[in-house]
């Protein structure tokens, strides 16, 4: 094709639509990263402090509204961040036919895990 040789990569990208979506993904990765700094430190400290907790004590810990709130926030930020990171890794290393199915599978997997974690947390938190 004629314009493939004569046009710069930038000129070709410009005619293929805007890059605004990329800025959103980049920004969301940073926002979730900032959120995960205190949240993962809290979870690590909480799991270490409760390493000898039995079932009843673990349930009691999850029933603390603050713990449930922080855990749900952590799960949301974690799986958004994980989905964005895995997307970039797949785009870098997976080519050909497997690429699109891999992208879809990873995104769906992150949604399933996030919802499962949030539902489990809430069912313990609200459980009678």
């Amino acid at each position: 094709m004629e314009h493939r040789r004569t046009r710069s990569p930038l000129a070709r990208a410009r005619s293929l639509g805007s890059a605004k979506g990329g800025v959103h993904a980049w920004w969301l990765e940073r926002v979730t990263a900032v959120a995960l700094v205190p949240l993962t430190l809290w979870l690590t400290a909480a799991l270490i402090a409760g390493r000898s907790r039995d079932y009843a004590a673990f349930i009691a810990w999850l029933r603390d509204p603050l713990a449930a709130l922080l855990l749900v926030l952590l799960l949301l930020a974690l799986f958004v961040h994980l989905a964005l990171g895995l997307k970039v890794v797949i785009e870098d290393y997976v080519h050909g036919r497997a690429k699109i199915p891999a992208l879809i599978a990873v995104r769906l997997g992150c949604v399933v895990l996030c919802v499962a974690g949030v539902l489990a947390t809430l069912s313990v938190s609200f459980g009678g």
Binding site: A33, L41, I48, Y55, V89, A120
Partner: protein, 130 residues
Amino acid sequence: MPNTSSRPISPHLQIYRPQLTSVLSFAHRVTGLTLGLYSIALVMLLVAAAAGPRPFSAAQRLMQSLFGEVLLFGGTFCLFLHLCGGIRHLWWDSARGFELGEIYASGWAVVAVSTGLTVAAWLVSLFLVG
């Protein structure tokens, strides 16, 4: 994407000598992928807790076995390395810290702080909590 251009491509990765910058860049990716696996384990622990005492104690037995403790130790190091590396990335996002000396200083700081935090977390876990 197939390389349709006839322009030369850059030399392949293996030709370069590993150095702190490239090793940490790669480690950030690998620890990110590893932490994805630990995220699955976290969800499984929560689901086990929601499912009842028997599934939970099975999960807890696995975590308290030697195999589980080794996995948790590795996970702690992955978490702290990715956390410190992530903070380094956020610092870079502010368009600071790109001089060669600063790059190496922040890189060694990431290695030192994440190692220190891992050791500290396990000392507290093993000797203070028990």
